[in-house]
Protein backbone atom coordinates (compact mmCIF):
# COMPACT_ATOMS: atom_id res chain seq x y z
CA UNK A 1 0.00 0.00 0.00
CA UNK A 2 2.76 2.45 0.97
CA UNK A 3 4.86 1.74 -2.12
CA UNK A 4 1.80 2.08 -4.27
CA UNK A 5 1.22 5.54 -2.85
CA UNK A 6 4.76 6.74 -3.51
CA UNK A 7 5.19 5.55 -7.04
CA UNK A 8 1.66 5.67 -8.37
CA UNK A 9 1.54 2.98 -11.02
CA UNK A 10 5.27 3.05 -11.80
CA UNK A 11 6.81 -0.34 -12.58
CA UNK A 12 10.61 -0.31 -12.48
CA UNK A 13 12.36 -1.99 -15.41
CA UNK A 14 15.40 -1.47 -17.59
CA UNK A 15 14.09 -0.23 -20.94
CA UNK A 16 14.41 2.52 -23.52
CA UNK A 17 11.12 4.00 -22.40
CA UNK A 18 12.18 4.06 -18.76
CA UNK A 19 15.40 5.82 -19.65
CA UNK A 20 13.75 8.40 -21.91
CA UNK A 21 13.53 12.01 -20.80
CA UNK A 22 10.14 12.60 -19.09
CA UNK A 23 9.71 15.69 -21.28
CA UNK A 24 9.89 13.73 -24.51
CA UNK A 25 7.53 11.10 -23.09
CA UNK A 26 4.99 13.75 -22.14
CA UNK A 27 5.19 15.33 -25.61
CA UNK A 28 4.98 11.90 -27.23
CA UNK A 29 1.85 10.89 -25.35
CA UNK A 30 0.19 14.26 -25.93
CA UNK A 31 0.83 14.06 -29.67
CA UNK A 32 -0.32 10.45 -29.77
CA UNK A 33 -3.63 11.39 -28.17
CA UNK A 34 -4.06 13.96 -30.97
CA UNK A 35 -3.13 11.72 -33.89
CA UNK A 36 -5.31 8.82 -32.76
CA UNK A 37 -8.20 10.84 -34.12
CA UNK A 38 -6.64 10.90 -37.60
CA UNK A 39 -7.24 7.19 -38.11
CA UNK A 40 -10.42 6.34 -39.96
CA UNK A 41 -9.90 3.11 -41.88
CA UNK A 42 -8.60 -0.41 -41.43
CA UNK A 43 -5.03 0.39 -42.47
CA UNK A 44 -4.57 3.46 -40.25
CA UNK A 45 -6.08 1.75 -37.19
CA UNK A 46 -3.86 -1.25 -37.90
CA UNK A 47 -0.79 0.97 -37.94
CA UNK A 48 -1.72 2.64 -34.68
CA UNK A 49 -2.28 -0.73 -33.04
CA UNK A 50 1.09 -2.00 -34.24
CA UNK A 51 2.74 1.18 -32.93
CA UNK A 52 1.08 0.87 -29.53
CA UNK A 53 2.07 -2.76 -29.13
CA UNK A 54 5.59 -1.92 -30.23
CA UNK A 55 5.68 0.66 -27.43
CA UNK A 56 4.43 -1.86 -24.89
CA UNK A 57 7.10 -4.30 -26.03
CA UNK A 58 9.76 -1.57 -25.75
CA UNK A 59 8.63 -0.62 -22.25
CA UNK A 60 9.31 -4.17 -20.97
CA UNK A 61 6.50 -3.77 -18.45
CA UNK A 62 5.02 -7.19 -17.63
CA UNK A 63 1.64 -7.67 -19.33
CA UNK A 64 -0.14 -8.34 -16.04
CA UNK A 65 0.52 -4.75 -14.87
CA UNK A 66 -0.99 -3.40 -18.05
CA UNK A 67 -3.90 -5.79 -17.67
CA UNK A 68 -4.67 -4.70 -14.07
CA UNK A 69 -4.77 -1.11 -15.29
CA UNK A 70 -7.15 -2.05 -18.08
CA UNK A 71 -9.51 -4.26 -16.11
CA UNK A 72 -11.87 -1.54 -14.82
CA UNK A 73 -12.20 -0.05 -18.32
CA UNK A 74 -12.53 -3.28 -20.24
CA UNK A 75 -16.20 -3.53 -19.39
CA UNK A 76 -16.76 -0.02 -20.71
CA UNK A 77 -14.95 -0.86 -23.96
CA UNK A 78 -17.06 -3.97 -24.48
CA UNK A 79 -20.17 -2.00 -23.61
CA UNK A 80 -19.39 0.65 -26.28
CA UNK A 81 -18.70 -2.11 -28.79
CA UNK A 82 -22.09 -3.70 -28.22
CA UNK A 83 -23.86 -0.37 -28.13
CA UNK A 84 -22.58 0.40 -31.62
CA UNK A 85 -23.14 -3.13 -32.80
CA UNK A 86 -26.83 -3.11 -31.95
CA UNK A 87 -27.78 0.53 -32.33
CA UNK A 88 -26.10 1.66 -35.55
CA UNK A 89 -28.43 0.83 -38.40
CA UNK A 90 -26.51 1.69 -41.55
CA UNK A 91 -24.93 -0.29 -44.35
CA UNK A 92 -25.69 -3.86 -45.34
CA UNK A 93 -27.16 -6.45 -43.03
CA UNK A 94 -24.44 -8.84 -42.04
CA UNK A 95 -26.16 -11.12 -39.66
CA UNK A 96 -29.69 -11.76 -38.49
CA UNK A 97 -30.74 -13.96 -35.61
CA UNK A 98 -34.27 -13.61 -34.34
CA UNK A 99 -34.66 -9.98 -33.32
CA UNK A 100 -30.95 -9.20 -33.44
CA UNK A 101 -29.73 -7.62 -36.65
CA UNK A 102 -26.13 -6.54 -37.06
CA UNK A 103 -25.31 -4.03 -39.76
CA UNK A 104 -21.98 -3.60 -41.49
CA UNK A 105 -21.57 0.01 -40.40
CA UNK A 106 -22.36 -0.93 -36.79
CA UNK A 107 -19.66 -3.59 -36.74
CA UNK A 108 -17.13 -1.26 -38.36
CA UNK A 109 -17.87 1.69 -36.07
CA UNK A 110 -18.04 -0.48 -32.97
CA UNK A 111 -14.66 -2.05 -33.59
CA UNK A 112 -12.95 1.20 -34.59
CA UNK A 113 -14.24 3.19 -31.69
CA UNK A 114 -13.50 0.62 -29.03
CA UNK A 115 -10.07 0.18 -30.56
CA UNK A 116 -9.41 3.91 -30.40
CA UNK A 117 -10.52 4.01 -26.79
CA UNK A 118 -8.36 1.00 -26.04
CA UNK A 119 -5.24 2.52 -27.66
CA UNK A 120 -5.69 5.81 -25.80
CA UNK A 121 -5.81 4.03 -22.46
CA UNK A 122 -2.83 1.81 -23.32
CA UNK A 123 -0.64 4.74 -24.34
CA UNK A 124 -1.47 6.91 -21.33
CA UNK A 125 -0.83 3.88 -19.11
CA UNK A 126 2.59 3.45 -20.70
CA UNK A 127 3.48 6.95 -19.54
CA UNK A 128 2.49 6.37 -15.93
CA UNK A 129 3.91 2.83 -15.91
CA UNK A 130 7.38 3.90 -17.04
CA UNK A 131 7.70 7.29 -15.35
CA UNK A 132 7.67 8.06 -11.63
CA UNK A 133 5.31 10.87 -10.57
CA UNK A 134 8.31 12.94 -9.47
CA UNK A 135 9.84 12.64 -12.96
CA UNK A 136 6.53 13.68 -14.48
CA UNK A 137 6.51 16.73 -12.19
CA UNK A 138 10.06 17.67 -13.24
CA UNK A 139 9.17 17.17 -16.88
CA UNK A 140 6.03 19.30 -16.59
CA UNK A 141 7.98 22.06 -14.86
CA UNK A 142 10.52 22.13 -17.65
CA UNK A 143 7.92 21.94 -20.44
CA UNK A 144 5.75 24.66 -18.94
CA UNK A 145 8.69 26.99 -18.23
CA UNK A 146 7.69 29.38 -21.08
CA UNK A 147 4.53 30.16 -19.08
CA UNK A 148 6.79 31.99 -16.60
CA UNK A 149 6.79 34.84 -19.12
CA UNK A 150 3.10 35.48 -18.50
CA UNK A 151 3.74 35.42 -14.73
CA UNK A 152 2.31 31.94 -14.21
CA UNK A 153 4.21 30.46 -11.22
CA UNK A 154 5.43 27.25 -12.88
CA UNK A 155 8.28 26.57 -10.47
CA UNK A 156 6.08 27.17 -7.42
CA UNK A 157 3.41 24.85 -8.78
CA UNK A 158 5.97 22.11 -9.43
CA UNK A 159 7.40 22.57 -5.93
CA UNK A 160 3.96 22.27 -4.35
CA UNK A 161 3.30 19.18 -6.43
CA UNK A 162 6.51 17.50 -5.33
CA UNK A 163 5.81 18.41 -1.71
CA UNK A 164 2.37 16.85 -1.85
CA UNK A 165 3.77 13.77 -3.59
CA UNK A 166 6.36 13.44 -0.88
CA UNK A 167 3.82 13.72 1.90
CA UNK A 168 1.14 11.37 0.61
CA UNK A 169 2.72 8.28 2.24
CA UNK A 170 3.41 10.20 5.47
CA UNK A 171 -0.21 11.29 5.51
CA UNK A 172 -1.47 7.76 4.98
CA UNK A 173 0.64 6.66 7.94
CA UNK A 174 -0.68 9.52 10.02
CA UNK A 175 -4.28 8.70 9.04
CA UNK A 176 -3.69 5.12 10.07
CA UNK A 177 -2.28 6.22 13.42
CA UNK A 178 -5.18 8.59 14.14
CA UNK A 179 -7.68 5.95 13.09
CA UNK A 180 -6.16 3.46 15.50
CA UNK A 181 -6.13 6.04 18.28
CA UNK A 182 -9.80 6.85 17.68
CA UNK A 183 -10.72 3.17 17.42
CA UNK A 184 -9.06 2.63 20.78
CA UNK A 185 -11.40 5.28 22.16
CA UNK A 186 -14.42 3.48 20.72
CA UNK A 187 -15.03 5.13 17.35
CA UNK A 188 -16.36 2.71 14.77
CA UNK A 189 -15.18 3.50 11.23
CA UNK A 190 -16.30 0.43 9.38
CA UNK A 191 -19.92 -0.15 10.24
CA UNK A 192 -23.11 1.65 11.13
CA UNK A 193 -25.43 3.78 9.02
CA UNK A 194 -23.88 6.05 6.40
CA UNK A 195 -24.60 9.20 8.42
CA UNK A 196 -22.67 7.87 11.40
CA UNK A 197 -19.79 6.84 9.20
CA UNK A 198 -19.57 10.28 7.64
CA UNK A 199 -19.55 11.78 11.13
CA UNK A 200 -16.70 9.45 12.08
CA UNK A 201 -14.52 11.15 9.45
CA UNK A 202 -14.50 14.39 11.42
CA UNK A 203 -12.32 13.33 14.36
CA UNK A 204 -10.02 11.96 11.68
CA UNK A 205 -9.77 15.08 9.55
CA UNK A 206 -9.23 17.69 12.25
CA UNK A 207 -6.01 16.21 13.71
CA UNK A 208 -4.84 15.65 10.14
CA UNK A 209 -5.23 19.34 9.28
CA UNK A 210 -3.57 20.52 12.47
CA UNK A 211 -0.62 18.15 12.19
CA UNK A 212 -0.09 18.94 8.51
CA UNK A 213 0.15 22.64 9.35
CA UNK A 214 2.70 21.91 12.04
CA UNK A 215 4.67 19.88 9.54
CA UNK A 216 4.39 22.65 6.95
CA UNK A 217 5.83 25.10 9.44
CA UNK A 218 8.80 22.84 10.18
CA UNK A 219 9.48 22.17 6.51
CA UNK A 220 9.25 25.86 5.60
CA UNK A 221 11.74 26.78 8.31
CA UNK A 222 14.07 23.99 7.19
CA UNK A 223 13.88 25.15 3.58
CA UNK A 224 14.48 28.77 4.47
CA UNK A 225 17.46 27.97 6.66
CA UNK A 226 18.98 26.02 3.77
CA UNK A 227 18.71 29.07 1.58
CA UNK A 228 15.71 28.21 -0.60
CA UNK A 229 14.78 31.27 -2.64
CA UNK A 230 12.59 30.13 -5.50
CA UNK A 231 13.34 28.75 -8.90
CA UNK A 232 15.90 31.27 -10.14
CA UNK A 233 19.43 29.95 -10.14
CA UNK A 234 18.39 26.70 -8.51
CA UNK A 235 20.62 23.72 -9.21
CA UNK A 236 18.90 20.38 -9.37
CA UNK A 237 19.65 17.00 -7.87
CA UNK A 238 17.87 15.22 -10.71
CA UNK A 239 19.01 16.65 -14.04
CA UNK A 240 16.90 16.09 -17.12
CA UNK A 241 18.85 15.24 -20.23
CA UNK A 242 17.48 15.07 -23.74
CA UNK A 243 19.31 12.32 -25.63
CA UNK A 244 19.39 10.75 -29.05
CA UNK A 245 16.70 8.23 -28.15
CA UNK A 246 14.28 11.04 -27.34
CA UNK A 247 14.77 12.67 -30.72
CA UNK A 248 14.52 9.26 -32.40
CA UNK A 249 11.24 8.43 -30.66
CA UNK A 250 9.71 11.74 -31.63
CA UNK A 251 10.93 11.33 -35.21
CA UNK A 252 9.27 7.92 -35.29
CA UNK A 253 6.00 9.45 -34.14
CA UNK A 254 6.32 12.20 -36.74
CA UNK A 255 6.80 9.56 -39.44
CA UNK A 256 3.74 7.72 -38.16
CA UNK A 257 1.71 10.94 -38.29
CA UNK A 258 2.78 11.56 -41.88
CA UNK A 259 1.84 8.03 -42.94
CA UNK A 260 -1.52 8.36 -41.19
CA UNK A 261 -2.29 11.59 -43.03
CA UNK A 262 -1.39 9.98 -46.36
CA UNK A 263 -3.38 6.81 -45.77
CA UNK A 264 -6.54 8.17 -44.19
CA UNK A 265 -9.64 8.37 -46.33
Amino acid sequence: MMDKMIFGRYVPAESVLHRMDPRSKLVLIFLFVCIVFLANNMLTYGLLTVYTFLMIALSKVPIRFIYTGLKPVLLLVIFTLFLHLFLTKEGEVLFRLGWITIYEEGLRQGIFISLRFFLLILMTSILTLTTTPIEITDGLESLLAPLNKIKFPVHELALMMSISLRFIPTLMQETDKIMKAQTARGVDFSSGPIKERIKAIIPLLIPLFVSSFKRAEELAVAMESRGYRGGEGRTKYRQLSWGLKDTAMLAMLAALTLVLILLRT
Partner: protein, 194 residues
Protein backbone atom coordinates in the same frame (compact mmCIF):
# COMPACT_ATOMS: atom_id res chain seq x y z
CA UNK B 1 -0.49 36.52 -8.73
CA UNK B 2 1.82 37.87 -6.09
CA UNK B 3 4.73 35.79 -4.91
CA UNK B 4 3.75 33.13 -2.41
CA UNK B 5 5.88 32.76 0.67
CA UNK B 6 7.47 29.44 1.50
CA UNK B 7 5.20 28.58 4.41
CA UNK B 8 2.14 29.15 2.22
CA UNK B 9 3.51 27.01 -0.60
CA UNK B 10 4.41 24.15 1.71
CA UNK B 11 1.03 24.30 3.44
CA UNK B 12 -0.78 24.28 0.08
CA UNK B 13 1.27 21.23 -0.89
CA UNK B 14 0.25 19.45 2.31
CA UNK B 15 -3.41 20.34 1.91
CA UNK B 16 -3.26 19.05 -1.67
CA UNK B 17 -1.99 15.70 -0.49
CA UNK B 18 -4.81 15.47 2.08
CA UNK B 19 -7.15 16.38 -0.72
CA UNK B 20 -5.72 13.71 -3.02
CA UNK B 21 -5.96 11.03 -0.34
CA UNK B 22 -9.58 12.01 0.36
CA UNK B 23 -10.24 11.83 -3.38
CA UNK B 24 -9.10 8.20 -3.38
CA UNK B 25 -11.72 7.42 -0.74
CA UNK B 26 -14.59 8.29 -3.05
CA UNK B 27 -17.87 6.44 -3.11
CA UNK B 28 -20.92 6.44 -5.36
CA UNK B 29 -24.31 7.13 -3.85
CA UNK B 30 -26.90 4.49 -4.66
CA UNK B 31 -29.43 5.93 -7.13
CA UNK B 32 -26.80 7.60 -9.32
CA UNK B 33 -24.54 5.94 -11.93
CA UNK B 34 -20.98 4.81 -11.10
CA UNK B 35 -19.15 7.74 -12.67
CA UNK B 36 -20.80 10.27 -10.36
CA UNK B 37 -18.82 9.88 -7.17
CA UNK B 38 -18.79 11.78 -3.91
CA UNK B 39 -15.57 12.56 -2.10
CA UNK B 40 -14.49 15.07 0.52
CA UNK B 41 -11.52 16.45 -1.37
CA UNK B 42 -13.12 19.90 -1.58
CA UNK B 43 -12.82 20.37 2.20
CA UNK B 44 -9.02 20.93 2.26
CA UNK B 45 -9.41 23.29 -0.71
CA UNK B 46 -11.99 25.28 1.22
CA UNK B 47 -9.72 25.46 4.26
CA UNK B 48 -6.83 26.58 2.03
CA UNK B 49 -9.03 29.34 0.60
CA UNK B 50 -10.10 30.49 4.08
CA UNK B 51 -6.54 30.69 5.37
CA UNK B 52 -4.49 31.71 2.34
CA UNK B 53 -7.03 33.31 0.04
CA UNK B 54 -8.94 32.17 -3.07
CA UNK B 55 -5.83 31.46 -5.20
CA UNK B 56 -4.73 28.81 -2.68
CA UNK B 57 -8.11 27.08 -2.99
CA UNK B 58 -7.75 26.95 -6.77
CA UNK B 59 -4.19 25.61 -6.46
CA UNK B 60 -5.26 22.80 -4.12
CA UNK B 61 -7.98 21.75 -6.60
CA UNK B 62 -5.50 21.93 -9.49
CA UNK B 63 -2.70 19.95 -7.81
CA UNK B 64 -5.10 17.31 -6.55
CA UNK B 65 -6.42 16.71 -10.05
CA UNK B 66 -2.99 16.66 -11.73
CA UNK B 67 -1.75 14.17 -9.12
CA UNK B 68 -4.78 11.99 -9.54
CA UNK B 69 -4.45 12.01 -13.33
CA UNK B 70 -0.83 10.91 -13.26
CA UNK B 71 -1.01 8.58 -10.25
CA UNK B 72 -4.35 6.88 -10.65
CA UNK B 73 -4.90 7.51 -14.33
CA UNK B 74 -8.10 8.33 -16.08
CA UNK B 75 -10.67 5.83 -17.28
CA UNK B 76 -10.81 7.52 -20.65
CA UNK B 77 -7.10 8.25 -21.12
CA UNK B 78 -8.08 11.87 -21.67
CA UNK B 79 -8.64 13.86 -18.45
CA UNK B 80 -12.24 14.94 -19.11
CA UNK B 81 -13.39 13.78 -15.68
CA UNK B 82 -10.52 15.59 -13.99
CA UNK B 83 -11.27 18.85 -15.75
CA UNK B 84 -14.91 18.48 -14.70
CA UNK B 85 -13.85 17.81 -11.11
CA UNK B 86 -11.56 20.86 -11.15
CA UNK B 87 -14.34 23.09 -12.47
CA UNK B 88 -16.83 21.75 -9.90
CA UNK B 89 -14.30 22.24 -7.12
CA UNK B 90 -13.54 25.89 -7.82
CA UNK B 91 -17.20 26.66 -8.51
CA UNK B 92 -17.98 25.36 -5.04
CA UNK B 93 -15.03 26.84 -3.14
CA UNK B 94 -14.90 30.37 -4.57
CA UNK B 95 -18.55 31.45 -3.99
CA UNK B 96 -18.43 29.98 -0.48
CA UNK B 97 -15.22 31.86 0.24
CA UNK B 98 -16.51 35.20 -1.06
CA UNK B 99 -19.82 35.01 0.83
CA UNK B 100 -18.05 34.04 4.04
CA UNK B 101 -15.42 36.77 3.72
CA UNK B 102 -18.24 39.34 3.53
CA UNK B 103 -20.19 38.01 6.54
CA UNK B 104 -17.58 36.36 8.80
CA UNK B 105 -20.07 34.50 11.01
CA UNK B 106 -21.14 30.90 11.43
CA UNK B 107 -24.45 31.73 9.79
CA UNK B 108 -22.50 33.40 7.01
CA UNK B 109 -20.61 30.17 6.45
CA UNK B 110 -23.83 28.17 6.21
CA UNK B 111 -25.21 30.71 3.80
CA UNK B 112 -21.95 30.65 1.81
CA UNK B 113 -22.04 26.85 1.55
CA UNK B 114 -25.64 26.99 0.33
CA UNK B 115 -24.67 29.56 -2.32
CA UNK B 116 -21.60 27.48 -3.24
CA UNK B 117 -23.74 24.38 -3.69
CA UNK B 118 -26.25 26.26 -5.84
CA UNK B 119 -23.60 27.89 -8.02
CA UNK B 120 -21.75 24.61 -8.44
CA UNK B 121 -24.89 22.61 -9.28
CA UNK B 122 -26.30 25.14 -11.74
CA UNK B 123 -23.09 26.01 -13.60
CA UNK B 124 -21.98 22.38 -13.69
CA UNK B 125 -25.30 21.49 -15.33
CA UNK B 126 -24.73 24.14 -17.97
CA UNK B 127 -21.12 23.00 -18.47
CA UNK B 128 -22.23 19.40 -18.74
CA UNK B 129 -24.72 20.35 -21.41
CA UNK B 130 -22.30 22.46 -23.42
CA UNK B 131 -18.89 20.88 -22.82
CA UNK B 132 -18.53 17.77 -20.67
CA UNK B 133 -21.13 15.41 -22.11
CA UNK B 134 -20.21 16.34 -25.71
CA UNK B 135 -16.56 15.75 -24.77
CA UNK B 136 -17.40 12.27 -23.49
CA UNK B 137 -19.32 11.62 -26.66
CA UNK B 138 -16.32 12.76 -28.67
CA UNK B 139 -13.60 10.85 -26.84
CA UNK B 140 -15.47 7.74 -25.77
CA UNK B 141 -17.94 7.75 -28.53
CA UNK B 142 -20.82 7.14 -26.33
CA UNK B 143 -23.58 7.39 -28.89
CA UNK B 144 -24.26 11.07 -29.37
CA UNK B 145 -27.17 12.17 -27.23
CA UNK B 146 -29.80 14.40 -28.68
CA UNK B 147 -30.45 17.72 -26.95
CA UNK B 148 -33.68 16.62 -25.16
CA UNK B 149 -32.04 13.36 -24.06
CA UNK B 150 -29.12 15.29 -22.64
CA UNK B 151 -31.48 17.67 -20.91
CA UNK B 152 -33.37 14.87 -19.17
CA UNK B 153 -30.11 13.26 -18.11
CA UNK B 154 -28.88 16.52 -16.63
CA UNK B 155 -32.15 17.42 -14.92
CA UNK B 156 -32.77 13.95 -13.48
CA UNK B 157 -29.16 12.88 -12.90
CA UNK B 158 -26.45 15.48 -12.78
CA UNK B 159 -28.27 18.42 -11.21
CA UNK B 160 -29.71 16.48 -8.24
CA UNK B 161 -26.42 14.64 -7.84
CA UNK B 162 -24.44 17.86 -7.58
CA UNK B 163 -26.96 19.30 -5.12
CA UNK B 164 -26.75 16.19 -2.92
CA UNK B 165 -22.96 16.21 -3.20
CA UNK B 166 -22.87 19.88 -2.20
CA UNK B 167 -25.22 19.29 0.72
CA UNK B 168 -23.20 16.34 2.05
CA UNK B 169 -19.90 18.21 1.73
CA UNK B 170 -21.44 21.31 3.34
CA UNK B 171 -22.78 19.21 6.20
CA UNK B 172 -19.38 17.65 6.89
CA UNK B 173 -17.61 20.96 6.44
CA UNK B 174 -19.92 22.71 8.92
CA UNK B 175 -19.20 20.02 11.50
CA UNK B 176 -15.48 20.55 10.97
CA UNK B 177 -15.72 24.32 10.77
CA UNK B 178 -17.60 24.76 14.05
CA UNK B 179 -14.76 22.93 15.77
CA UNK B 180 -11.89 24.51 13.84
CA UNK B 181 -13.04 28.08 13.39
CA UNK B 182 -10.74 29.65 15.95
CA UNK B 183 -7.85 27.60 14.63
CA UNK B 184 -8.53 28.64 11.03
CA UNK B 185 -8.77 32.30 12.03
CA UNK B 186 -5.57 32.04 14.03
CA UNK B 187 -3.74 30.56 11.05
CA UNK B 188 -5.07 33.31 8.80
CA UNK B 189 -3.79 35.96 11.24
CA UNK B 190 -0.37 34.30 11.54
CA UNK B 191 -0.19 34.15 7.77
CA UNK B 192 -1.04 37.80 7.25
CA UNK B 193 1.50 38.82 9.92
CA UNK B 194 4.30 36.89 8.24
Amino acid sequence: MKKLNIKTMVAIGMLSSISYVLMLLNFPIPPFPQFLMIDFSDIPALIAALIFGPAAGILVELIKNILDYFMTGSATGVPVGHIANFAAGILFVLPTYYVYSKLKTKKGMTFGLVIGTMVMAVIMSVLNYLVILPAYTFFLNFPAMSAPEMRTMIVTGILPFNIIKGVIISFVFMLIFTRMRTWVEKQAVIKSAA
